[in-house]
Chain length 202, copies 4
Amino acid sequence: LVKQYEALAEASRPVLGIADEAFSAIKKQITREEVRAVTLAKLRLCQDMVLWDIGAGSGSVSIEADRLMPDGRVYAIEQNEQYQRFIRENLRKFHSRHVTVVEGEAPGCLERLPDPDRVFIGGSGGSLWAILSVVDQRLAAGGRIVVNAITLDTLAAASEFLENAGYRVEVTSVNIARTRPATDYKMFEAFNPVFVLVADKE
Amino acid sequence: LVKQYEALAEASRPVLGIADEAFSAIKKQITREEVRAVTLAKLRLCQDMVLWDIGAGSGSVSIEADRLMPDGRVYAIEQNEQYQRFIRENLRKFHSRHVTVVEGEAPGCLERLPDPDRVFIGGSGGSLWAILSVVDQRLAAGGRIVVNAITLDTLAAASEFLENAGYRVEVTSVNIARTRPATDYKMFEAFNPVFVLVADKE
Amino acid sequence: LVKQYEALAEASRPVLGIADEAFSAIKKQITREEVRAVTLAKLRLCQDMVLWDIGAGSGSVSIEADRLMPDGRVYAIEQNEQYQRFIRENLRKFHSRHVTVVEGEAPGCLERLPDPDRVFIGGSGGSLWAILSVVDQRLAAGGRIVVNAITLDTLAAASEFLENAGYRVEVTSVNIARTRPATDYKMFEAFNPVFVLVADKE
Amino acid sequence: LVKQYEALAEASRPVLGIADEAFSAIKKQITREEVRAVTLAKLRLCQDMVLWDIGAGSGSVSIEADRLMPDGRVYAIEQNEQYQRFIRENLRKFHSRHVTVVEGEAPGCLERLPDPDRVFIGGSGGSLWAILSVVDQRLAAGGRIVVNAITLDTLAAASEFLENAGYRVEVTSVNIARTRPATDYKMFEAFNPVFVLVADKE
């Protein structure tokens, strides 16, 4: 019976697309719904992959990735304690099945995780090159790394590292503006641009 | 054995994220990967919904929606014969399971379809209001309409109609630019902006 | 001697390009430097034109237009008293020569002004059609109207009015993001998009 | 009499804002009207400055800068012969007064020019660092460099060089889309994004 109820509940949850407000988070820091969708599409997730979500923040990418992969394993890596609490809260709220919170600092804490098929880097806490270096060693052939950069510095550094390491690199700039529903006038409010870098390992 | 093979093949296909080049289409007219991802997220598809994809073009939204909904039913409505051929070709190529091609002109051909939970309008062939009028009658309560507008005219008309009909309307402008992989210089190439309008029926 | 000093001072002021922070204004409401530059270019100002700046706000467009037109006459129309004070302060600060502040509500207060060669509408206080109607009667043949819209409503209404009145209408969407100087990381901060509508009277 | 006629003609030319189509150029390569306006505003030109326009292309920035500086001196530096012809043609067409075409390759050909107050780099033919190095030596204190980058590589390299050399660096990303006038539908067409880098010498 419980299982039936669960299945019913599941069926009524969107497979993709959770509103920003639905997550517990520091509002200004959450990856916006539209950027999250682009990020998830760029990750090219298959049903049973291992995803590392480095700098998981509120866990929004992990949670949506989990919904897309019925047999996946998602590792939400986050060193900030406040953010860890947000992630736990959101995992409960969204009934995530296969997300493990990894409390610790990357790249150190990556050692004990299974090798990834996909890696998402949403934040690197100043250790970008060290993280990319470990990720490069562990990532499966045919694997893919996606980095969301909001600074020119991160974008340039990630791009340089990954090209030198022989990856095929593509960058997409995403400029989003949105009107608020239920207002008299439809005024567009801009979100800060995000550069979504995709790197394929041959 | 066939079933096992099928399951295996399935597992190796991304649940979300198909490159633009992978579709048979008139290249300049396809909904770009990034915009498609935003559109799919805005559709808030659940596992077993009925989706009308009006003005299906190459069928790219239908095909990605089908992957997201294991028990869904997708109707790809398209009146242009060349596009219908593209859709059929793409459905085969991507092993789509629950997509029905509806050859004909909306809103006329919508009559024989089951009521939709979600409606996506990517093109309206000049009959936007007539289509919205039928969609409004048929859409379930709690249903959602997403319109991708590339002209100010479509955006303004859809917005006006749906607000007057009591929907809660939100518009997102999506400006995307992308570098090409495997070039010496990372030059950003812009795609035309798309306005993604979302309307919720209370 | 005073004249010489004046000339010297003049020579050391940029003809175009004033930083946002230099203006007294409600910071969030000022037309951003980049959008102002696009607006001024779209106005196609010649040396001795008459410009109406309707909804002048902080007066930033009037002040930059004045610098571009050595023999021009600029009318900064503004009904809000706080904004009028900002304009006066800014006119003094930037040594504007040919800008007249018009305190009052458009379109009523336009009656006593000389016919314009160019009209900029930065705000319309809810009377857009009434204003456009008067502007249309008074604008010289070969004249040009520029409207900066931040809402879909203003954009659609201005576009509809001016097309029906026989103008040649072009719309430019301007999406700007900027890094802050003197920070450790170059993070792009987005400004809300502005739609710059240009209408030519034949 | 000629002088009077000249003055009259002058008065009827816009001080700022020339349409892209008005220039002889390779259409896809011209700096778009809107980006040109932003660039000119960022240059903060005063009445009598010396401007180096490096990689002048069609000469559009030089020509608009000339109009803004009644007593300025503009050097349009260009090594490509086809582009040099475009520049000469455009200088004639737009009656530019104080623009000198410098045929040759930067940084070599910069030696014989007077020290600049402002430098615009629209193209660097692969010698960006060598050019910036010379520009840095020659630029007056209080001077300003503006670089328009369309690749991540140029943006990152210019930013790195100028920050290391002690400049105050700001980057603006400009995303423009425009409708065509006189069409039945207002469809927005995007131009490739440009990163406008501004560097101030203290």
